[in-house]
């Protein structure tokens, strides 16, 4: 164990990059893909996935590998994993309300359920987790508690991202009150507000 710490220190001394996997989790439509695209565009110039107002746009894990970031002199390499939003129900009728045809809506629902199962499987396999919450919504939901409970059970470091602070009814302090055991960083993934604050926290945690 002492040799492992000495080796890590030596690697750090010679500026060797540390690679880690960063998973973006959360309920549906909290802005995970918008954030993943923001991170990927900032550091690689390319997006990760598509965004839509129709729920369950991300229906499979989207990966962007070997994103190199440099924060306050610390260089890191991360594999970014944008997870499908987790939900306890998928109702195809919701997609029909957004104008989709019933058979397309049913296909989307089928893909969404598979995406949720995939996201849940990945709860055990990341090095650091960003749990993205909509700061305009009540954060004390079963989905958020299930995500956090499983990450905590695996001792996976968590940063809670209070997203959508650009909106008037955003209340990020409500998230801090609900989950005082975790670091909460408030951002707007859409507008880029405080995204550097998030990068600093990721660099500290990784």
């Amino acid at each position: 164990m002492h040799f492992h710490h000495l080796f890590s220190w030596l690697r750090g001394l010679f500026g060797s990059r540390k690679t880690f996997s960063l998973g973006l989790y959360g309920a549906v439509n909290t802005g995970k893909t918008t954030l993943a695209n923001r991170i990927s565009m900032d550091w690689t110039g390319e997006p990760v996935g598509t965004v839509s107002e129709i729920p369950h746009e991300t229906r499979a894990v989207q990966k962007k590998e070997r994103i190199e970031i440099n924060v306050d002199g610390k260089r890191l390499t991360m594999n970014l994993l944008d997870m499908p939003g987790i939900a306890t129900k998928v109702d195809y009728r919701e997609f029909v309300r957004f104008g989709m045809k019933p058979n397309e809506a049913q296909q989307r629902a089928k893909e969404a359920t598979k995406g949720i199962v995939e996201a849940i499987k990945w709860l055990e396999h990341v090095d650091v987790a960003l749990v993205v919450m909509d700061a305009c919504q009540d954060p004390y939901t079963q989905v958020n508690l299930t995500i956090l409970g499983n990450l905590e059970a695996r001792n996976i470091p968590v940063i809670i991202v209070a997203n959508k602070i650009d909106k008037k009814n955003a209340k990020p302090d409500r998230i801090r009150t609900a989950f005082p055991q975790h670091k909460v960083v408030e951002i707007s993934a859409l507008k880029g507000d405080n995204i550097n604050g998030l990068y600093k926290e990721i660099a500290k945690t990784a």
Binding site: A109, T113, I120, Y140, Q142, T146, N150
Partner: protein
Amino acid sequence: MAVQIEFLSSGTLANKTSAQKIKFILDAVKQEKIVVLEQALTPAEEKELITQTMGTVTKKFPGIEVSSLSGAPASDLRSMLIQLLGGKAGLTVVGPSNLVKQIKRDPGKLRLLTNG
């Protein structure tokens, strides 16, 4: 429309494995019942419940609403034995999403809102 509620005590739950609990919950909610367990689900059980639910989603059964409240630590022998056998003090409410619009939670209470 009459609402059916099935209540499972912590004593009954102590004799069930996690897989049996999840199966019981899903079988009941698919019959349009609301299930109340005198026990909180563990994070692993919550995860498994969602996974199993997703495997059963259809046009007619879009899924569930669920909320689990952790209770106080065990203070009597019976509660301690139940917790030793893997049970977690608290309460869990699960209902079909066609029937249950939302289960709102404050840290210490649950409020169930039905559709219609």
